[in-house]
């Protein structure tokens, strides 16, 4: 066991995957010599050579398009998009190409690639370094979408994603790279080094895709959350003294319906939380799923707490970001119902 930040856990996962499987190659903007602007790939080029870990031109479209070609050859590329906000130029290659390759070629060509990207706000990144585009991916047949919330999961989920025979969108909440978030931006940043979820085995292990994790057991209501919001939900539950069951979804596509269903059937109430804008966000899918499978068990309407339907503003991020206050209000609302 070692105490690791999420960055270190991700780096460690790359290292183990490259060591185990020669087909794994890693590339993207600044990922080679420098090791990435967040340092998630630091040291890999030195260890594995620039044949297997290298810088790419600033062309997201090129990065993903080249990865599709490498997959067709038989490699397993893990590519980094420097910020999720910059995946739009690559969107066509992801959606029309990588996602459909297996289907359109009847399995002759596949795309066992991982596309990693830092997401979410909370670091004063303004509108072009803060977005949470998960819903743009969960709407696409053929993709898998993963969002880890802590170092251990980040490592295990990344290794599972690299092993996965299909394209995986791996969204890394950059707010959690160095430590968990206690939900309050005016308090000192906590480090993973002092946090139980920073305990990560240095051995090779995977966390299966498609399996949620109950982060906190409770009977009064169910919270569906992922990434940074898991911690905000925890803070809200503790501060409000609400016996909330908090489910960390970990994989958004495919979704762990069983865990969600069992929990909501038990509690009868559900709050859905994410940082992305509300309209047509992933929360809409979660609400629909809960409604479809748990309608007769619900004792109150499902409530969504999300970012506002505006671009992420630089100076107002803490008003934009769903903090514990808004979540506590949502708890009160579903408990009243």
């Amino acid at each position: 066991m070692a105490r690791m930040s999420m960055i270190e856990a991700i780096r460690n996962a790359h290292d183990l995957a490259m060591d185990r499987d020669r087909q794994v190659v890693v590339f993207g903007e600044d990922v080679g010599y420098f090791g990435g602007v967040f340092r998630c790939t630091a040291g890999l080029q030195k260890k594995y050579g620039s044949n297997r870990c290298f810088d790419a031109p600033i062309s997201e479209n090129g990065i993903v398009g080249a990865a599709v070609g490498m997959c067709a050859y038989g490699l397993k590329p893990v590519v980094e998009i420097q910020f999720a906000d910059y995946m739009y130029p690559a969107y066509d290659q992801i959606v029309s190409e990588a996602a459909r390759m297996r289907h359109r070629s009847a399995g002759q060509f596949t795309c066992p690639m991982v596309i990693r990207m830092p997401t979410g706000g909370g670091i004063f990144g303004g509108q072009t370094h803060s977005q949470s585009p998960e819903a743009l991916f969960t709407h696409v047949a053929g993709l898998k979408v993963v969002v880890p919330s802590n170092p251990r999961d980040a490592k295990g989920l990344l290794l599972a994603s690299i092993e996965d025979p299909d394209p995986v969108i791996f969204l890394e909440p950059k707010r959690l790279y160095n430590g968990p978030f206690d939900g309050h931006h005016d308090r000192p940043v906590v480090s993973w080094k002092n946090h139980e979820l920073g305990d990560v085995s240095e051995d090779y292990f995977t966390v299966p895709l498609g399996k949620a994790k109950i982060r906190r057991e409770g009977s009064a209501l169910t919270v569906l959350a992922y990434g940074t919001m898991v911690f905000v939900a925890q803070a809200a539950a503790e501060e409000a003294g609400v016996d909330a069951e908090i489910i960390d979804l970990r994989t958004l596509l495919p979704l762990d319906l069983e865990t969600i269903e069992a929990s909501v059937k038990k509690t009868g109430r559900c709050v859905v939380i994410h940082e992305a804008t509300k309209t047509s966000g992933f929360g809409a899918e979660l609400s629909a799923v809960v409604q479809e499978s748990c309608f007769y068990h619900l004792e109150a309407p499902i409530v969504r707490v999300t970012g506002w339907d505006t671009p992420y503003p630089h100076a107002q991020e803490w008003t934009y970001f769903p903090g514990p206050e808004r979540i506590k209000r949502a708890f009160a609302q579903v408990l009243e119902g």
Partner: protein, 410 residues
Amino acid sequence: MTAPRPLSLHVPEPGCRPGDTPDFSDFEIPRAGAVRRPAIDEAPEDMRDMAFSVVRVLNKAGEAVGPWAGLLDAEALRTGLRHMLTLRQFDERMLKAQRQGKTSFYMQHLGEEAVSCAFHMALQDGDMHFPTYRQAGLLIASGYPMTDMMNQIYSNAADPLKGRQLPVMYSARDHGFFTISGNLGTQFIQAVGWAMASAISNDTKIAAGWIGDGSTSESDFHAAMVFASSYKAPVILNIVNNQWAISTFQGMARGGAVTFAARGHGFGIPSIRVDGNDYLAVHAVASWAAERARTSLGPTLIEHVTYRAGGHSTSDDPSAYRSKEEFSAWPLGEPIDRLKRHLITIGEWSEERHTQALAEITDEVRACQKKAEANGTLISGPKPSPRAMFDDVYAEMPPHLQRQRQEAGF
């Protein structure tokens, strides 16, 4: 038949990394004044040489020489020097403000001041720039109030962009400055579109697009080249080659091409390489391209050869990927020193006047900063209203946003 040999991947690497001694001896630099000045209607195929050389005007002795010299009088040059000094002072103070925690982020221009400051002087009111984040010199040279620039950087109550944009992502339509996107390259094709619109409308205005060397690998760059070429758009396409894109050296984006300027040849676009640290050369080449655009001769591609002396941004530590000595070894010198030396050489400036000008500029920038900080900084003092977060998403606020604004308590 011989057995095929195993292939290997070529990954370009810069010649110099931390700990190495910088060596620019491969960089061929013509003497100042040595490069010819084509007629503005010269056929693109007859001036391909211009993409492989470097237009330079100021020589080592501080004289302006050759066919590109003589466009600016002493008064204009003193103004140019003032713009560059102002930009450098502005950078210094804002960099410090970021270090003091008054804002989240800053990007400086150190070493690249001549590019935007000199270029601005070659265009006219009503023309439109589509800049990226390292052309604040366009605003300084256009007389845009520095206090407003600082208000934007501080995201304070007087921020013209209401606290929405990342620091340095200015927008100043009245100053011919298109709103900056954090997404690299997107503005390049938009510049071409603006120029096409000017032509469609039988207007007389022209556009200038700006992109960094690294960002030329984005698809938008190539889209811009195709559109500019096909429609002979009245646009100047500027590539600022400052050698680095964060940690990635310029050779990565350039690939097998000899120069970035040579990219224009495949599109039949006249392409010129210019010494970006030479105020007179940048201005002369910009004027040449502007005249071409304004006389319906179509686009020009300009590669400004310069060096990013500072970090990429306040989040960057360049010593992790390049030699600390590289900037001092950079053969094109430093733009402010070069113009200053020239003015002194021609008897239009002196060390005393320079010291005095610098003191005045420092005072002016400091005064602007004081004024801006009275409107608040990112961490303290007055802020833009959170209510403003919901404005301008649409021209008219739809009901769902009104509801959300209420729910947010504004």
